[in-house]
Structures are given as C-alpha cells and as structure tokens.
C-alpha cells in the first residue's frame, strides 16, 4: 500500500500573500498632484477641430466665456453653430450678410434678456480664428462684429510659455 501524504502538511505551503500597493500609491499621489496643478474651473471656450488651429501669442490675459465667432478654414460659426461657409462670403463687400443677421439676432435677444432677467449685455465677443485665415476675411469678420453692436472684440490665442 502506497504511503498516503500527510493531510495537514499539504496545506501549509499555501499561505496568503498581501498585494503590495505602496509603489502604486506613490504613482497615484504624483498623478493627483499633477492633475491638481492643471485643474481649471472655467469651461472650455473652444471646441478643437483640425481646421481651427489658434495662433500663439505672448499675451497673458486670461479669457472668459462669452459669445464666440469662430473662423475656421472652411466655416464661420457663432457659438459653435455653423452660420455659413467661407466660400459664401461676398467678395465685394466688407459686411458679411448672414453673420451680421445672426449677430444682430443674438444682440436683440441679449438686450431682451437684460430687460427681462437683468443679465447685462456687455457687447463682448471673442473672435476665434485659424492661424492661416487671410487678413481680409478676418477684417470682414471684425467689421461685421463691430457694426452689429458687438464692438468689444477679443482675439483668442494660445499662450506661449
């Protein structure tokens, strides 16, 4: 008859081992600190896209959320809603018709809100333009904003370190 292995000895080698989490905790703490440093409470002003690359600037003035007019290489958008394509811009006039009517509509709405709910209308608009937009188009957008009551203009850029 074969020798029967001891039943008590058989289980002694299987002892419970704790997973060592200390190094993972260290990494987590560092990541947490890094993320806290880049934390920002303000909302995203722009929705990034491949045909909207902002130029770099040395300006350090921080932006705040406002009405935005975006000029990408193909489209003109007001608050992320497409108003028209760049090719629809009338080459013979400084004012851009569809953009003007959209901005005027928003200005009227904003002024009505000022009366109804006391939200101040500050005439501010942020121009978000692609770095390769030609000057003439940029000028026309600025001109149109200026003539439709949005005359406090700001140009959005990426801060250079």
């Amino acid at each position: 008859m074969a020798y029967t292995p001891s039943k008590s000895k058989k289980h002694t080698t299987l002892y419970h081992e704790e997973l060592n989490l200390t190094s993972m905790m260290d990494a987590m703490t560092i990541i947490l600190l890094f993320l806290l440093k880049t934390f920002s409470t303000s909302d995203a002003i722009i929705s990034p896209s491949s045909d909207l690359r902002l130029p770099y600037s040395l300006s350090t003035e921080a932006p705040h959320k406002d009405l935005t007019v975006s000029v990408t290489q193909e489209n003109i958008l007001v608050s992320d809603n497409r108003v028209m394509t760049v090719s629809e811009v009338n080459p013979n006039s400084n004012a851009i018709g569809p953009l003007f009517s959209e901005l005027s509509r928003r200005a009227t709405e904003a002024k009505q809100n000022e009366i109804d709910y006391g939200i101040p209308f500050n005439n501010e608009v942020i121009v978000v333009a692609d770095e390769n937009v030609p000057f003439q188009l940029l000028f026309r957008v600025i001109y149109t904003c200026g003539s439709s009551e949005y005359n406090k203009l700001r140009l959005l850029t990426i801060r250079e370190k």
Binding site: Y56, F135, T157
Partner: protein
C-alpha cells in the same frame, strides 16, 4: 524553580497591515474627475479697440472730438515684402536706394521684428509728450492674403518690448485693425 513567563505577553506586538484600499478607491475616482477638468492648453486673449457702431447722435459727437484732438495715426502695414510704417502724413521710407520698398523688408523668408521694434521705439520717443491723443495706439493693417498668425505675432511685438535689462515695457498697447485703402 521559577515559572516560565507566559507566552501571552508577546501577543500584543502584532503588525496589522494598513488597509489602504479605501484611499485607493478615492484616488481612482479623483483621477478621472481631475483629468476631465485638466487644462492642457493655456488660452489667452488680445483685446482690440473698435469704435462703437456709429449712430446719428454720437457720430456728431465724434466729429467734434476729432476736430479738437491732435492725432498721429501711426499705421503699420504688413505686406508680402515686409512692414511699412506710416501715418496720415506719409510713410517712412526704408533704405535710400529702394524708395518704393517697405520700411522694414523681410530678412530671407522671415519678418524682421527686431528692426521693427527698434523703429517703433524711435517713433514713440519722438511723439511722446507732444499732445497726441493716440500716442499709445497703432493701426494695424495688412494685404488681403496675409495669414492671421503674422498679425498676432505683429501685435505681440507692437504692444510690448523687452528692455535691455529684461523687463517688459509697453510700446503701443492700443491696437486697432484697419484696412488698406
């Protein structure tokens, strides 16, 4: 014969592993939250000066102001060949031999910002204290197909400059955008 000391005395020193699982749970939740609100690209803005939309009554007012005030009207024009500095009276000429060329021609394929800042510093010194109402403002204009990035770069160089001892000083902080007539 004395008693053997009780083994119980040593039972108290027993290492309890610290339970860090709750902390880990918190970390795992915190990291996605912070990642979501992390700001990887720092944005900034440039302010422009634009006159309010002309209406009948303030147009008359503005005309009044215009007559009283002495204006210099410094203009910088970006062309494909370089920068042209001028004002309502005329343009600064560049090198003597090229009368029709820009004030500051391009160096190779790049615009010469250093020379521009130098010229603007001269202009600023000359017009300061002469009672011009617009001694801090500049009109920036460009040819129709100059990309926007050059305009922003120009604005950067026109608003402030770095002194010899490395301090930032203002040059022409009020920027207007104009069109070539």
């Amino acid at each position: 014969m004395a008693f053997k000391p009780s083994m119980r005395a040593h039972n108290k020193i027993q290492e309890i592993p610290l339970d860090i699982r709750p902390v880990m749970n918190l970390m795992v939740v915190l990291i996605p939250v912070l990642l979501y609100s992390a700001e990887f690209v720092k944005l900034s803005i440039r302010e422009l000066n634009l006159p309010p939309a002309a209406s009948a009554e303030n147009a008359a007012q503005q005309d009044d102001l215009k007559e009283k005030a002495k204006r210099f009207g410094l203009t910088i024009l970006v062309s494909k060949e370089g920068f042209i500095i001028g004002n309502s009276a005329g343009y600064l000429t560049g090198e003597a031999e090229m009368q029709d060329g820009p004030t500051i021609p391009k160096v190779g394929d790049e615009y010469d910002y250093a020379d521009l800042v130098q010229k603007l510093k001269d202009v600023r010194e000359k017009i300061q204290g002469q009672g011009f109402v617009d001694e801090k403002s500049v009109i920036i204009s460009a040819e129709a197909d100059i990309p926007y990035k050059y305009i922003i770069k120009l604005i950067d160089n026109v608003t402030t400059y770095e002194d010899e001892d490395g301090t930032q000083k203002e040059l022409f902080p009020q920027i207007n955008i104009g069109q070539v007539i």
